[in-house]
């Protein structure tokens, strides 16, 4: 199957938006480590800005950038959201409450604890009543999400905002599931070519071969973040080159993306 990448959003350590990150990913500017921006996306209403969790804000920061870089309205775009670990701060807060004497779970934390909370806030922000699917596949959640987004766009003939997002757990869960840095990326993909398509991606599952190396221009520590596994693809988008990217997928197959630059 094939999809077209219309626009990109990114929020990571020293990767503050696509415009600023593109030369870094293309290898023409050096990466400088800085904490991931914790800005609250202005596409959220005042109430949702207050209520939303850190994972929702991060995911929507990336999605908002991709939306504004494209020429499609938010309400004509379906959503696919992928994450391995959801919102670790919320998990921590609820598990601590449940281990305490009162077992008071905050109602806001409980509704923020659902895995699809970022996608829910996104649909409220954009007014999109189209389908929204949230997928998890542990370390390969990005690849699983890309399959979901590509099959959705292909079969339903609709554009898809595909958002991948993972954040570190706080102590003590971070000792059991070590993820460094907060990272989110958003790809607005369409089933057919549009005027400003950045790339065409042909996507297939194939028997194992050597996976594409993580971009050398980025710190090794970012590899621990499952959502950051998209970075070989984003680096290629930044360089606008033709190449085949291989992402690890399962014990029996890899996700192979044949990338062709747009015109």
């Amino acid at each position: 199957m094939q999809i077209f990448v219309a626009s990109v959003g990114i929020a990571g350590p020293g990767l503050d938006g696509w415009t600023a990150s593109r030369p870094i990913l293309a290898g023409t500017a050096a990466h400088r480590m800085a904490p991931t921006s914790r800005s609250i996306p202005d596409i959220l209403s005042a109430a949702e800005r207050r209520r939303s969790s850190q994972s929702a804000r991060l995911a929507i920061t990336a999605a908002q950038e991709a939306l504004r870089a494209g020429d499609l309205r938010g309400d004509e775009i379906a959503t696919v959201f992928a994450s391995s670990d959801g919102d670790g701060d919320i998990t921590q807060e609820i598990c601590e409450s449940l281990a305490g004497p009162a077992r008071d779970v905050s109602p806001t934390s409980f509704h923020n604890s659902v895995y699809n909370a970022p996608a829910g806030y996104w649909s409220i922000a954009t007014g999109s009543r189209l389908a929204s699917t949230s997928v998890c596949a542990y370390d390969v959640s990005f690849a699983a999400g890309l399959i979901e987004a590509a099959t959705y766009a292909t079969v339903e003939h609709q554009p898809v905002m595909f958002i991948a997002c993972d954040l570190p757990f706080p102590f003590p869960l971070n000792t059991i599931r070590p993820v460094e840095h907060s990272f989110a990326a958003a790809l607005l993909v369409t089933p057919t070519a549009r005027n400003a398509s950045l790339m065409r991606w042909k996507i297939s599952l194939e028997p194992h071969r050597a996976a594409t190396a993580f971009p050398a221009c980025l710190p090794e520590s970012l590899r621990s973040n499952p959502a950051a596994r998209c970075l070989p693809l984003l680096a290629l988008l930044a360089r606008n080159q033709r190449a085949t990217i291989v992402l690890e997928y399962s014990d029996s197959s890899d996700l192979v993306v044949l990338c062709e630059p747009g015109t």
Binding site: R51, G127, A137
Partner: protein, 396 residues
């Protein structure tokens, strides 16, 4: 129009019992599976739908690392109704790499982590062996354990869209098959009792102190349940009595994180999209299995949506007074109940409900009745405003 997919096998473990025949037996005799909350030491006055015997079903052998309540429930479910044998046949026919796995869950094995937090060291650390994160808490663990147990190697993912999770698996599976990623898919849903959902729904004031009474004038909340359910979806020539997935419809409310759109706008869209995809009219649907959780707002919003889509002619009921709300397993559990209803020509009544809410306009059935059915719609709506409607039936 989508290519109808054939349900070639199904299996369930739910509060009504293990397997299809005990589930059907409870269904036709109007026997429910709820009981006063006796889950661990959760001191909440509510009723729960608990699956018996999981405590005595540890996972051993190669998959022992996956042992937790949720994965035990998954494997108990897989062992029912000849499901493993049906998958083995499909594996021989298509090859293990051509069969996908898509499982819906909302809390996976979080119970393990909840209990580990009670046993933290004085400095706050978790004891290293108390949490096997990947094999228990992570949402993918249930899909991994199902795939490995069944010896499959095709595409795999967990879907987690709150209470629509295991309805959404049908939509994604249908797409996977449409683009040729695989020739068959094991779809399912597994969610198990844990403290997070009991105390979380209690914090929102959404738990009933008595067995839930969907659509009742005095309904006051839901009863939480747990379940595992699976279906094997294939494309094959029609045989007498075959059950098919005829359509699915997905939508978002774009309204609020934890309360439905008051006019049921998103719910109505999901139903309309399912009908469109199946190329069916509302009159073609013989029965609607409601999401019907028993909270005042949910049932009212769904009623608006049903009225808008079907008017007052189509019989509707909620089976959540029988199983409880099994959250991420609700979609598959109710798809399986819909399958039993189609097979036996049976419309289940809405148990525990005695006085229908006069505000509701749709035709909610309180008493069970036998009536031939060709097509059934099943609704599942979740937090985040995530909606999915399925149409199951015989091919026309």
């Amino acid at each position: 129009m989508m290519t109808a997919l054939t349900v070639t096998a199904m299996a369930t473990a739910n509060p009504l019992g293990y397997g299809l025949s005990s589930t059907w037996d409870a269904l036709r005799k109007d026997r429910h599976g709820l009981r006063p909350n006796d889950f661990e030491d959760a001191a909440i006055k509510t009723w729960i739908g608990r699956v018996e015997g999981l405590e005595a079903e540890p996972i051993t052998g190669a998959l022992a690392d996956f042992d937790c309540r949720n994965n035990r429930l998954a494997l108990v479910g897989l062992r029912q109704d000849g499901f493993e044998q049906a998958v083995a046949l499909a594996r021989g026919k298509y090859g293990p790499d051509r069969i996908g796995v898509l499982i819906g869950t909302t809390t996976s094995g979080i119970l393990e982590t909840e209990l580990a937090y009670r046993r933290r060291t004085p400095s706050g650390e978790l004891l290293p062996l108390t949490v096997r994160y990947r094999q228990t808490q992570n949402l993918f663990s249930v899909s991994e354990v199902v795939r490995r147990h069944l010896g499959l190697q095709g595409p795999v993912a967990s879907i987690s869209t709150a209470c629509s999770s295991s309805a959404k698996v049908f939509a994604s599976a249908s797409r996977w098959m449409a683009v040729g990623l695989c020739d068959a898919v094991v779809v399912g849903g597994v969610d198990s009792l844990c403290f997070m959902t009991l105390y979380g729904f209690a914090s929102l004031g959404l738990l009933s102190e008595s067995p839930c009474r969907p659509c009742d004038r005095d309904r006051n909340g839901l009863s939480i349940g747990e379940a595992a359910g699976f279906m094997l979806l294939e494309r094959r020539d029609d045989r007498e009595g075959d059950l098919h997935l005829l359509g699915y419809g997905e939508s978002s409310d774009a309204h609020h994180m934890s309360t439905p759109h008051p006019e049921g706008m998103g719910a109505a869209l999901a139903m309309e999209r399912a009908l469109d995809r199946a190329e069916m009219k509302p009159i073609d649907i013989d029965y609607v299995n409601l999401h019907g959780t028993g909270t005042p707002a949910n049932d009212l919003a769904e009623d608006h949506a049903i009225w808008k889509t079907f008017g007052g002619r189509t019989p509707c009921s909620s089976t959540k007074g029988r199983t409880g709300h099994t959250l991420g397993a609700a979609g598959i559990t109710e798809a399986i109940l819909a399958g039993l209803c189609l097979r036996h020509g049976f419309i289940p009544g809405t148990l525990h409900t005695t006085r229908l809410d006069p505000q509701l306009q749709s035709r909610v059935t309180l008493a069970s009745e036998y009536r031939p059915l060709r097509s059934v719609m099943s609704n599942s709506f979740g937090f985040g405003g995530n909606n999915c409607s399925l149409i199951l039936g015989k091919r026309t």
